[in-house]
């Protein structure tokens, strides 16, 4: 019965392609978003730092306001349960290179190098800066600047040698660049201040107890554990991204649903005579309708799965060819897209299904 109400092969191919492209559009956007959140999470979520101490009003690294005295790190290091405390200065800097004189804005993190708490989570090439005048920057930023390890970049008009390239530090809109503390102070013009202080706890320390002790000792600070800090940063990234994500997902889902509706409508129109014959032969309308629904559901599922497979392939291709865009597709996102497309497909199939009811079995007699 199902094969009897299938659409013609070319129409099926066009509809599946349309659903595939819609799914690809949505999944690539979601995977791009996942890539960005993975970028910020891989830095702020690294296990070198257990607690983040920030000035009042600052709960994430992306947007921060206010500064702390850098010397606060020495005081924090003396609190029971704290193994180490490092001041970190962040600010946006203008970076250019010989091959890319047009400056781009990067998120600079000044920290103790090369063994401080605020160093990048992973190195893609080279090393961390070992001496003043060296930087490590995100590999996507290096790609855009056209520089490699050993080349020079200009950070706020001061030249630095690129000691290494980091990964997991690409926020899409901007990337990280790591400098030693004094260089970051010169680049930002902010001296003896810290944007945050990263705290590493002793092995047996209770994070909640240490947090309480910090807040009891210093009134004008906020303290976040790692999970909370990661969540805040992810939310900060998502705040700008999410409306666009929702909009594109909605448009993609609607366009896929419209394609499926058009196809199902075409099936009902094209196969009208065949459906009338089936009904005349005694097939229940519900069975014919179920066949049509299964047909449309298989188109949606096929298209969405193909879109998912293409997203995975595209992510692998991008990973191998360019560091500029990191896609981090997830199976759960594919399942969500599948569910959304399926639901939309089912809803829009209702109209053609109602049309089925108007087919008179006696039409089978029409010559």
């Amino acid at each position: 019965m199902r094969r009897a109400v299938r659409s013609r092969i070319v129409r099926t191919a066009i509809a599946v392609s349309g659903v595939t492209v819609s799914a690809l559009l949505v999944l690539v956007l979601v995977a791009g978003y996942r890539g960005v959140t993975a970028g910020v999470e891989s830095y702020v979520g690294q296990d070198r730092i257990d607690l983040w101490v920030s000035p009042p009003g600052t709960d994430n690294l992306i947007r921060s306001s206010g500064l702390l005295p850098a010397s606060l790190a020495c005081g924090l290091a003396r609190i029971a349960g704290v193994a180490a405390a490092d001041p970190m200065l962040r600010g946006f800097v203008s970076v250019s290179s010989a091959t890319q004189p047009r400056a781009m804005t990067l998120l600079a993190v000044g920290c103790r190098l090369p063994d401080g708490l605020g160093v990048p989570p992973r190195l893609a090439a080279g090393s961390l800066p070992a001496r003043p005048g060296e930087v490590t920057l995100d590999r996507a930023a290096a790609h855009r600047l056209g520089v490699r390890v050993g080349d020079s970049v200009t950070v706020n008009l001061k030249r630095f040698r690129v000691a290494g390239l980091s990964s997991g530090t690409n926020l899409l809109a901007t990337q990280f660049i790591f400098l030693d503390g004094p260089s970051a102070e010169q680049a930002t013009g902010v001296f003896n201040r810290a944007s945050f202080i990263g705290v590493k706890l002793a092995a047996d320390a209770d994070p909640a107890a240490v947090r309480r002790r910090i807040l009891e000792t210093y009134e004008d600070v906020q303290v976040f554990d790692r999970a909370e800090w990661v969540r805040n940063n992810a939310n900060e990234v998502a705040a700008g991204f999410r409306p666009l994500l929702v909009l594109i997902t909605a448009v993609g889902t609607v366009s896929a649903a419209v394609l499926v509706a058009l196809l199902v409508q075409a099936v009902v129109d094209d196969r009208r005579q065949d459906i009338a014959v089936l009904l005349a032969l005694g097939a229940p309308l519900s069975v014919v309708a179920r066949s049509v629904v299964i047909h449309s559901a298989s188109l949606v599922a096929g298209g969405a799965c193909l879109g998912g497979a293409l997203t995975l392939a595209l992510a692998a291709l991008l990973r191998a060819t360019t560091p500029l865009l990191e896609l981090a597709p997830r199976v759960t996102d594919l399942l969500w897209v599948l569910a959304a497309f399926g639901l939309a497909g089912l809803l829009v199939t209702l109209a053609p299904l109602l049309r089925l009811r108007r087919i008179d079995p006696a039409e089978a007699f029409r010559p």
């Binding site: 019965m1 094969r3 009897a4 109400v5 299938r6 196969r271 005579q273 065949d274 014959v277 089936l278 009904l279 005349a280 032969l281 005694g282 097939a283 229940p284 008179d360 079995p361 006696a362 089978a364 007699f365 010559p367």
Partner: protein, 225 residues
């Protein structure tokens, strides 16, 4: 009697467009009998076939098919009864274009609830008897008009119905193909003890009929109209 129609009247359309398609028609068919229903276009032949199959309900009168009153059944019961007891051969064969010849035959058996193994055996037997066994895997688009109609005959008989309704089954066929289809249909129907009601004005069918009745303006006449 396999089919008993008593005092059937049916009006098609509404208002100014209403047409009295059948007027007090009474007709009965016995198993193994082939009745040829003749009449010009618009005389009500197709309406009569539709009422006999339970596809249309008469405005008045009763229809009894294989011992049960169609007009007393609910729509689902009527549909299921039709699926089991009626076979159709349409003017254009109306094979399902997405299915092979074999599957086109099997679909009627599946709808009638015939067990798959029995349906397969019956389909193979009928296709062989109709001389088209070698076409079983072909798609309808690759068949000639005569072949299509022989497949339609197999489809109409695969579930061993009590009544075979054929609407102008030879109208679109050449002389030779039309005769072949008429022969196959009548031979098989008699062999299977099926009552056959054929609506047609094809003179080639006359020699195969047990009875010829006419229909004109919805009225049944004992002689061809």
């Amino acid at each position: 009697m396999t089919l008993i129609l008593e005092h059937i009247s049916k009006t098609r359309g509404q208002g100014r467009h209403a047409v009295q398609a059948l007027r007090d028609v009474s007709l009965s068919l016995a198993a193994g009998e082939l009745v040829l229903l003749e009449g010009p276009s618009g005389s009500g032949k197709t309406t009569l076939l539709s009422v006999a199959a339970g596809l249309l309900l008469a405005d008045s009168g009763t229809v009894e098919l294989a011992g049960r009153r169609l007009d007393a059944m609910d729509p689902g019961e009527r549909r299921a009864w039709r699926g089991r007891k009626v076979g159709f051969v349409f003017q254009r064969a109306n094979l399902l274009e997405g299915l092979s010849v074999h599957d086109n035959v099997l679909v009627a058996a599946a709808i009638a609830g015939v067990a798959p193994r029995a349906a397969l055996a019956e389909a193979d037997r009928l296709l062989a008897e109709l001389g088209i066994a070698e076409l079983a895997d072909r798609m309808p688009a690759g068949l000639s008009g005569g072949e299509e109609h022989r497949v339609a005959v197999a489809r109409a008989l695969v579930h061993r119905p009590a009544l075979l309704l054929a609407d102008e089954p030879t109208a679109s066929l050449d002389w030779h193909s039309g005769r072949q289809v008429a022969e196959a249909m009548t031979t098989l129907a008699r062999q299977e003890d099926v009552a056959v009601l054929v609506a047609s004005h094809d003179p080639r069918l006359g020699p195969f009929a047990s009875r010829v009745i006419g229909l004109a303006d919805g009225l049944l006449t004992p002689e061809p109209a």
